[in-house]
């Protein structure tokens, strides 16, 4: 049996200042080699889940646990979570003027390597890595060296996220609505990139509104997140059913 990479138990989280409860007892277990899709209506808590797992400020976990590969993630700072092998592809990748994509990635990779007690990557090896990985998502190497996401189109931003994922080789990648704002060609490219990065040692959690992305990144499990917890789990056919019927039948059934 393959090992458990992410183990979320009874996770309760609220928005810090408002005390508004968003996650209300969420359970999710993801094993190596698996792809999980998390779907659900607006406001169900999908993005909050991504934020809480990756350690964004502004959320308070009131109950429950999140473990990655046996490590308690909630104890760690966001960068330490990344160093342990977590990656978040942002729904809205942030533009950072003045910071070069490549330079910051090199800093990131070397910090991660230092954390793991590995040797820093040489400039030459790094550049050949950039060339190889940028091809994966057909990202123009000129974009790779520009300021982070600055002036990128929506599609380029998402491809840049997957490019970074390819560079950082995470154990667990959470793709937060990576399909939003993508045309069909860009969607195919991004999905193909993710598929090439999948292997038996890593796992991908795909957060999405629509079934469309799941035609390209085929999930092993589909979960429906509604009102802060997972209300139904099935295989890929559940996504098609949701596409047809919407979420109402699940949320009302649950209520």
């Amino acid at each position: 049996m393959s090992k458990i990479l992410i183990d979320i138990k009874n996770l309760h989280a609220e928005i810090e200042d408002e005390g508004k409860k968003i996650l209300k007892g969420l359970n999710l277990t993801v094993k190596a080699g698996e792809v999980h899709a998390i779907m659900g209506p607006n406001g169900a808590g999908k993005s909050t889940l991504a934020s809480v797992v990756s350690g964004k400020d502004g959320y308070e976990v009131t109950e429950g646990s999140v473990e990655m590969d046996g490590k308690d993630l909630l104890e760690l700072d966001p960068d330490e979570r990344a160093k342990e092998g977590l990656f978040l592809a942002f729904q809205y990748p942030v533009e950072i003027p003045g910071v070069s994509n490549i330079n910051f990635l090199r800093t990131a990779i070397n910090e991660i390597k230092e954390y793991r007690g590995e040797e820093a990557v040489s400039a030459k090896d790094f550049m050949s890595m950039v060339r190889e990985k940028s091809k994966l998502v057909e990202l123009d190497s000129k974009l790779a060296s520009r300021a982070v996401n600055e002036g990128f189109s929506g599609g380029e931003k998402k491809r840049n996220e997957i490019f970074q994922m390819a560079m950082l080789e995470p154990k667990v990648a959470i793709l937060d609505e990576t399909d939003s704002g993508l045309d069909i060609d860009a969607l195919r490219i991004v999905a193909a990139g993710v598929n090439k990065l999948r292997n038996e040692n890593n796992a991908v959690i795909v957060i999405t509104h629509y079934q469309r992305l799941l035609d390209y990144i085929v999930p092993d499990f589909v979960h429906v997140l509604a009102d802060g917890k997972i209300v139904k789990t099935g295989d890929k056919s559940l996504a098609l059913e949701l596409e047809e019927k919407g979420y109402d039948w699940l949320t009302t059934e649950n209520a």
Binding site: D57, D77, P78, A82, E95, G98, Y115, A147
Partner: protein, 417 residues
């Protein structure tokens, strides 16, 4: 002679002896009728001078530590130590420049600054300076490399009066990098006076790199005058110093001039850094631009005051001003004030001032890629000051500044700026 010397001024000058020459005696007499400004004076509203005015300083004596290797960034260098040029620590044979020292005994009434330009600190400089170093870039001469002017201080409770005049003659081109360094960590007050005379069609870049020490006090006044078709850039980088006040006054006297002022400072502890700029557009068809970036940490305070005057008949002027501030701590603060006086009607002027914290989303984004919060902050700060850092073309000086960011502010050397 009636003694109306204020008590504070009397105390301040108690350990200084007025040299026996007419020019300085007259200056000392003028001082008798002056008093240190307080925060009630608009020009000094945000800068308290107690650290300077409550100390009886002594003039610096001959430098004992003569190793300048940690400060030297250019092959061609003029060292002004304790307010006097040091021939043995200067070497500029590669450059076609003329360097002269002019002594206060040779100064006459023509050298007395008019009331508008004289402040208490320029008057103190007048009364006690030892010599003026005059650097002339002859007509049509383009310097092949930058010239470094190293201003050094040493000793405790020392006041030095570095005084420099740069004459860029017609159609000449030069870059001068002034570096202020301290040979120890004692309190020294550098009351520095610099005059830049940029003749027609000349191009002068003056970089002021302030690396002082933790206790360094300075009032640095730069008075510049530009003739027609000239280009002047005055860039100020403040990396250390307890109390720093820079006055950059540029009178644009000729048409078709270009004027640039850039500034960057990174502070910590209880540092106070104040930049006052003043561009006086006296004639038509000129362009000026200034961009000052502040990064303030701990309990430090910053002041930016950018004054631009466009005189009545100075038409077709483009004058731009920007001051961006990042506060890294809750206790840091900045006072930013644009001051535009426009008396002509065909003029484009703009000013902008922003003060804020680092972008939380950008910070989080970098952290999710495995970069620690501390390093992420520095990467973002590096990006913020990047456009001002780009104005240093000299690689060694760029590295010198980065080294100071590392030593004084704990930056990693691998952070790109």
């Amino acid at each position: 002679m009636t003694l109306t010397l204020s008590k504070k001024m009397a105390e301040f000058t108690s350990r200084l002896e007025t040299p026996q020459n007419n020019y300085q005696q007259a200056a000392a007499e003028r001082l008798e009728n002056m008093d240190f400004p307080s925060t009630r004076d608009e020009y000094w509203k945000y800068t308290r001078l107690g650290k300077i005015t409550n100390t009886a300083f002594e003039l610096g004596t001959k430098l004992t530590k003569t190793d300048i290797s940690s400060f030297q960034t250019c092959d061609n260098i003029i060292t002004i130590a304790q307010g006097e040029i040091r021939d043995d620590l200067s070497s500029f044979n590669d450059l076609s420049i003329v360097v002269e020292r002019s002594f206060p005994g040779q100064f006459g009434v023509n050298n007395v600054r008019n009331e508008e330009k004289a402040t208490i600190f320029t008057t103190i400089n007048d009364a006690y300076f030892r010599e003026e170093v005059v650097i002339t870039i002859p007509k049509n001469t383009v310097l092949s490399a930058p010239l470094q002017v190293l201003v050094l201080h040493e000793g405790d409770q020392i006041i030095n009066m570095p005084r420099l005049r740069v004459v860029a003659e017609g159609s000449s081109e030069a870059t001068i990098i002034m570096t202020t360094g301290c040979q120890d960590n004692y309190t020294q007050f550098s009351n520095c006076l610099i005059e830049l005379d940029v003749a027609a069609n000349a191009k002068l870049t003056f970089q002021n790199v302030q690396t002082g020490n933790d206790n360094h006090l300075t009032i640095t006044t730069i008075d510049a005058r530009q003739a027609a078709d000239s280009r002047l850039a005055v860039n100020t980088f403040t990396l250390n110093g307890l109390l720093v006040r820079n006055n950059v006054n540029i009178a644009v006297d000729g048409q078709n001039c270009e004027t640039h002022m850039n500034g960057m400072l990174v502070t910590k502890g209880k540092q106070h850094v104040d930049n006052h700029t003043f561009v006086d557009h006296k004639v038509s068809n000129c362009f000026s631009n200034e961009n000052y970036k502040y990064v303030l940490d701990d309990q430090s305070t910053g002041v930016f005051n950018g004054k631009v005057i466009v005189r009545k008949d100075a038409q077709v002027i483009n004058a731009y001003q920007n001051n961006g501030n990042i506060l890294l701590s809750d206790q840091a603060s900045v006072d930013s004030k644009p001051e535009l006086e426009i008396y002509a009607d065909d003029v484009k002027c703009s000013h902008g001032s922003t003060t804020g914290q680092l972008d939380e989303n950008a910070l989080f984004y970098l952290q999710t890629r495995g970069i620690s919060k501390e390093k992420s902050e520095k990467i973002l700060v590096g990006a913020f000051i990047g456009d001002v850092m780009e104005t240093i073309e000299d690689e060694a000086t760029n590295q010198y500044i980065k080294n100071h960011l590392q030593e004084v502010h704990g930056w990693d050397s691998d952070i790109e700026i």
